[in-house]
Structures are given as structure tokens and as C-alpha cells.
């Protein structure tokens, strides 16, 4: 999955599930858009569905430091590469 494709799907999830329209790719999602830890857990579930794979607890904990859309894209690309999908 190429980065542009992932980005389009993530922005669609943010629009439909979190009512956040086109956030800047380096915006601090918590400070600027009120995206909190509960939203983070919901997003991890969406990522599992997107990648059709269950995330380990360690992988989920690693996501807790993620703050921006670009970091989310990095995170997803890493997960995909670890599963041999890039």
C-alpha cells in the first residue's frame, strides 16, 4: 500500500469517524483537533480493519506517542512492512 493511498484512507476515517476535516499533516491532533486517547483506541481498530490484521499489545502501546497524521502514516507503513506488505 503506497503512502498516498494510506493517507487518503486515514483522512477519510478522520472525516467520517472523528468529524475532523482535512487536518494538516503535521498538526498536533490532540492540541489542534481535540483527538484524545479514546479516539486513538478507536483509530487502532480502524487500522486493524484497514490492514486486515490484529495488532499486538506492544504495537498498540507504540502508537500512544503518535501525534500527527504523518506519524500515523509512518506507523501504518511500519506495520505493513513488518507484515511484508509494502
Amino acid at each position: 500500500m503506497v503512502r498516498e493511498e494510506i493517507q487518503a484512507r486515514i483522512l477519510e476515517i478522520f472525516r467520517n469517524s472523528f468529524e475532523i476535516e482535512d487536518p494538516g499533516l503535521d498538526d498536533d491532533l490532540r492540541d489542534i483537533h481535540g483527538f484524545d486517547s479514546i479516539d486513538g483506541i478507536e483509530l487502532l481498530r480502524e487500522i486493524e480493519i484497514m490492514l486486515d490484521t490484529e495488532l499486538t499489545r506492544e504495537e498498540k502501546e507504540n502508537a500512544m506517542e503518535v501525534r500527527t497524521i504523518n506519524q500515523i502514516l509512518d506507523y501504518i507503513q511500519l506495520l505493513a512492512s513488518q507484515r511484508g506488505r509494502n
Binding site: 472523528f18 468529524e19 479514546i38 479516539d39 478507536e42 481498530r45 480493519i49
Partner: protein
Amino acid sequence: MNRRVVITACSAITPIGHSRADICRSLLKGVSGVKALRDDGLLTRYIQSGVFGTVDYPIDYAFKRQHSKTMGPVAYYACQVAKDVLEQAGLDPAFIGSGRLGVAFGSTHGSPTVQRDIYRTFFGGSQSKFSSIGAVDYLKSMVHTTAVNITKMFGITGRVISSSTACTTSSQSIGFGYEAVKYGMQDAMLCGGADEYDTTTVAVFDNLLACSTKFNATPHLTPRPFDIQRDGLVVGEGAGAVLLEEYEFARNRGAHILGEVIGFACNNNGGDLVLPNMDGITLTLRSALKDARTNPEEVDFISAHATATKMGDVIEAQAIAKVYGDKPLVAGLKSYMGHTMGSCGVIETILSLYMLAEGWVAPTLNLIEIDKRCAMIRHATTITEAKIRIAAVQNFAFGGVNTSLLLKKFDD
């Protein structure tokens, strides 16, 4: 420290209306909010009662996702009436976040709608490998979801009390809120209760043979408190909130005062969890009068719990006669909307405040022929002009919990 506690704002979502004008119109015209029970695809096929006190009008919620993401239907109701009340009251935003405003708000069991979704996830036979409860499902369904969604939405930082004692949930909210202000722990309390459309509660009461079943084809003719043909309670949905403030605080900020809470009592029967208990109820009514330093003959109106069960109404009528005699007008307001469970105490308080302001008492709906065993008190059977100075709101719950609130028309 004994401070006066006044009511400065109120709002209710009920099966007979949301605004004061709609609710009063329904009371004056004898409009019932009881409708046919909707099929829930789960329990209704096993339930004999086919009626429900239903909120069937749209409510224009304008909650941002930031707030609504942790709310089930019951919290939507709660936050809407809380929003109405705070808008009416016009409190200084600095005070709202000062820690001197608290919340006393509850429901019977949080959100059964969300709880069903959780159970469906585990027991629904889904083959999805990603099925799990959502991150916010607990926050939406938990028993104190109403109180804390209110604190979150409005930034309230004072104490939180979240009663969940079924039919006395919101009368306890008001009573415990009144005590928090009276004794100086808080300067104001936002108090109330809510319950959403829920067939689980109907199933529980139906199984105990406590629900009305003979009027399924004519829902508006039930419940029938104190009437010879009454055949049980009707479960309903709704919400209500009142703002209680310390009198000097309210006066100094120029608040419009709707009434005063002058007394409260709560006790338990100390025995059977279901059967009404004359001694327990009588003691509660007398304790509230003592707290209010008021004589029984000073009470002009009683909002009876009056669920329209066979025994409950008889015991309550006898307890009223024993404590108050036959002078105060008595009305069973559940006759208009069914038993709204966790919200009935606050809704009946608000309806009493409306009638106190309007100068009339609405009759108990469907009270055509008074059961002789309930006939020793002064029933309101028609719209009655009445200058109410003091009103009593009494509620009794499964578990043997009893409450009585005493309200007074405001005068300096």
C-alpha cells in the same frame, strides 16, 4: 451551617412535552404520553404489557462529537436538560469551573441500549476477528454516565453524586444536592435524572406482574393511579434537571427564583425489597416535614408516587391520610406519562413547580372511579385552581428506598 436552598432553573424532557408550555398544555388538556410498546426484536415478544411512556418528538441536539462520543441515549437526555438549565440560569462561566458547583445526576442503569450492543458483540455469533467492545462503550453505558458527561460537557469541577436507586434516583439527586448546598459543601448543585427507552425494565416489572396489561389497545387509558380499574405501572422514558443554589448567592447574582427546597428525607424499609411498607413511608413523610420545620397542615399539594400498582397506591394513600389527613390536593402525575423511573422524581418536582407558578393543580389522569381503599385523601379529579404555598413530592423505589421532598413557593 444551615443555608436556604432555592431552585433557579429547571427543564424536563417528558412523554408529554419538553418546554414548559407544551407540558402545561398537555396537563390542562389531559393529553397522555403513553403509546404502544415498540418491538425491540429481543424482549417484547415475551412481555405481556404493550405500552410505554414514549418521547416521540424530535429533540434538536447540537452536541459536538468531542462530547457526544461518550454519550449513549440516556446521556443525550441528561446533557440536553442540563444544557437547558445552565442556559436558563446564566451562571458565570468562572463559577461553573470553580469547584463550588457540583452535579447530582443518575439513571436506573446507565444505557441499556449500549449494554445490549456490548453483549451482542460477545454473544451475537459474529465471525469477525476484529469484533470487540468499542473504546467508549463503557463510558456510554456505565451507571454514572449521565453525571460525568454533564461535568465533561460544561466543565463542572465540583462534587459528583450519582444515585442509581431506580424510582428514587432523581429525588435523591435533588435531596442530596439540597443537603450539599444547605450544609455549605457546595454553593450550587445541578440535580436530576434520566432514563432512556428500555424494554429491559418493562420485562422486569412485567415478570413481577406489576405492569399494566389490560389497556394495550388503548395506551392512553393507562396507568390509572388510585382508580378501581388500575392494573399496574407503565414504564416510561424522560429526563429532568433543576439547578439548586444557596439563597444569598442566587439573590446576589439577580437569579430568578422558581421555588425553595425546604425539606428532604430518605430512608429504607429495612426489610422486603419489593413490597410497599406503611411504616417506612410514613416515617419518610414525617422526617421531611421535620427537616422543613413544617406542620402537615401547611402542605397544600402532594405529588404522589402513585404508580398504579394494586398495593402501592393503597399503602401510599393510607400513609398520606395518616400524615397529612384529607386537606392537601393529591395528584399522581405518572398518569400522564407512565413511570419514567430514574427521572420521575425530578420530572414530578418540575411539574409541581410549574403548577405552583400557574396556580392550578392537574388532576390524576384516568382516575374515574376511586378505589375505596384509596378514597380517604383529597384527590385532584379535575383541573383545580389552587394557591399552592408548600408542595410535597414523594417517591418510593424497589429496594425499599423512600424519599420525600418539600418545596415552597418562593417568598422573601
